[in-house]
């Protein structure tokens, strides 16, 4: 493969699957919703 093609392939892999890894890690580290609003027992879930 040419250097330019390899470079673009690396960019594509870094951003897209890299973005997937980052988003998954973020979700795993902060899975819970914010403290607001409190649960409302009067509502069906």
């Amino acid at each position: 493969m040419t250097a330019a093609a390899v470079l673009m392939l690396i960019v594509a892999l870094a951003v897209v699957p890299g973005g997937l890894v980052a988003a998954t890690a973020f979700l795993a580290l902060r899975p819970e919703v914010a403290s607001y609003p409190p649960p409302d027992p009067g509502l069906p879930d």
């Binding site: 040419t2 330019a4 093609a5 673009m8 997937l20 998954t24 902060r30 919703v33 914010a34 509502l43």
Partner: protein, 545 residues
């Protein structure tokens, strides 16, 4: 809490007056179930057969730049808008738009029915492609297509050249797998969201990723694969100056993510009230794009192998061979499969992947219709599945299990996607962000319940950037469709199957809003309350401006 919401109140007004009589809504088993199902919906045929060719034809490696810009400025923002609509109003598309609409709710409900009708028509032909993939999966084991793959597809399999019996004469080779696809799809729908849709995705998606991963790895080691990857990834930065390249990138993201025609809206309505929305949305969006990149690697490695075997350059191959859509999958790929070592396994992996990717998308499309019927007519999952499944399957079998199948499919697909869905997206954003001015409320809703906060940028994107870009795309498309007959088809077919389908969606949408609801659609409580009560601890709201 007392629950007597007046029918002309907005959701935020309603929220302070309603009580706990709203029927329990179906739910995913949890966050992972939702994410897998949403990825299953987004990853479909377009990821495998559309993205690689579009990237190659629009600047190669340089296409990644507009593609990523489109993902961040349109794909993810519209995905979040779908989530906000479905989750805040806790309903299928018609119910969510009915609740969004306030005093104009009866009219705004039509937007939801328009999305349902789009899904209805897509399901009819999408199942036919899955039937072809199922047939080719079986054919892979003995390469039944032979050397002339075009002739096999058109004459032997689809029998488009045989006028005996008329255009509506059944083609058994298509009808039988198509019937089986419909039985499987209706069975999944009848089991409901958790035991049907989620369970099917939890089985199909890991199998798909493994099967397609094996195929891609095998393809990367074929002779000539590097030439194929060179063709796909070598950047032509001059392409970035062409508006058509940017339009192609936005269109690819838009069609690939299953946004703006009710799917993600419906799926998010089955999440618990206290749910993280945006972070899973990012996972879904990047997973979908990752699968597209993987498909690009696989498809272009295989095309590079084909060029190598034929003694052609990739440019020559791209001129002489279809590298997109049905042609890529059912003409080019069978030809390559026949030439390669271990062809039966390779063919089975490819067509099996198409089948799985398509099936998980098909059930998400059907869930939009089924969910709408459940909400409007207070039907159970099983009754809604049968009420929807029987007529859809019959139309599908008549329209696409016959010799008229291919032209019908091509025309309906073109118009429903490039006119219908784009129109749906524009109307959805204009109604939500401009007519009902829900930008701040949705921003609050998304951020209050999620760990990834959204704010002004998101509002600008779905208020300005996306409507403008999509309107431009729609104008270009309509202009082209009116200037010359699409693919040389006759005006009768284009009028009936193309424009006729879009007009049918509009008429049906306006008519269905008149059918009375079996339950009061406004008897619900939007949660969390907007604007938040004074003194409430609202860290998310502080970032919403």
């Amino acid at each position: 809490m007392a629950k007597n919401a007046a029918s002309n109140q907005t959701s935020s007004q309603t929220s302070s007056q309603t009580s706990g009589q709203t029927p329990e809504r179906q739910q995913w088993s949890g966050q992972i179930g939702f994410i897998i199902a949403a990825i299953g919906s987004a990853v479909g045929l377009g990821n495998i057969w559309r993205f690689p060719g579009v990237a190659y034809e629009n600047g190669g490696g340089a296409f990644m730049i507009p593609y990523l810009v489109a993902l961040l400025t349109a794909g993810i923002p519209i995905l979040f808008l779908d989530y906000a609509l479905g989750h805040r109003y806790r309903g299928s598309a018609p119910l969510a738009f009915r609740r969004l609409g306030g005093k104009l709710g009866r009219w705004v409900e039509s937007v939801g029915w328009f999305q349902v009708m789009i899904c209805f028509f897509i399901a009819i032909y999408y199942a036919a492609i899955l039937a072809w993939a199922a047939s080719y999966f079986v054919f892979s084991f003995n390469q039944k297509w032979g050397q002339d793959t075009v002739g096999f597809l058109m004459d032997d399999y689809l029998q488009t050249d045989q006028v005996t019996g008329g255009l509506l004469a059944p083609v058994a080779g298509v009808m039988i797998p198509l019937g089986l696809i419909w039985v499987a799809a209706v069975a999944v729908m009848a089991r409901g969201v958790k035991r049907g849709v989620e369970a099917a995705n939890m089985v199909a998606m890991p199998v798909l990723v493994i099967a397609f991963g094996v195929l891609v790895v095998r393809a990367l080691f074929l002779p000539g694969a590097a030439d194929g990857l060179n063709a796909l990834f070598t950047p032509d930065f001059s392409a970035l100056a062409k508006p058509t390249v940017w339009v192609a990138a936005y269109a690819q993201i838009f069609f690939s993510l299953s946004i703006a025609f009710g799917i993600m809206l419906t799926y998010s309505s089955y999440r618990k009230r206290r749910s993280n929305l945006t972070s899973p949305g990012l996972v879904v969006a990047f997973a979908n794009s990752s699968f597209e990149i993987m498909a690009g690697l696989g498809v272009f490695s295989v095309l590079g192998f084909m060029a190598h075997e034929n003694g052609q350059t990739m440019a020559e191959l791209a001129k002489s061979t279809s590298i997109n859509g049905i042609g890529l999958s059912f003409v080019t790929f069978p030809k390559v499969v026949s030439e390669m070592p271990g062809s039966a396994v390779f063919g089975a992996l490819f067509f099996g992947s198409l089948l799985l990717a398509g099936f998980t998308s098909l059930i998400s499309i059907l869930q939009v219709v089924s969910g709408a019927l459940q909400d409007k007519f207070a039907l159970s999952e099983a009754k809604a599945a049968l009420t929807m499944g029987v007529p859809v399957a019959l139309i599908s079998l008549i329209a696409f299990g016959t010799k008229a199948g291919l032209p019908n499919l091509d025309v309906v697909d073109k118009y429903i996607n490039e006119v219908g869905i784009v129109l749906s997206a524009i109307v959805m954003m204009v109604v939500t962000m401009w007519a009902r001015r829900k930008g701040r409320e949705f921003c609050f809703h998304l951020s209050a319940l999620s760990t990834f906060k959204v704010g002004r940028l998101w509002r600008w994107s779905v208020s300005f950037v996306c409507p403008v870009v999509l309107t431009y795309i729609l104008v270009l498309t309509v202009r082209d469709l009116l200037a010359a007959p699409y693919s040389g088809y006759g005006w009768r077919l284009l009028s009936l199957g193309g424009w006729g389908t879009v007009i049918a969606c509009v008429v049906a949408a306006l008519a269905l809003r008149l059918v009375p609801w079996q339950r009061d659609p406004l008897e619900f409580e939007a949660y969390p309350t907007y604007p938040p009560p004074l003194g409430a601890k609202a860290p998310a709201a502080g970032k919403v401006s």
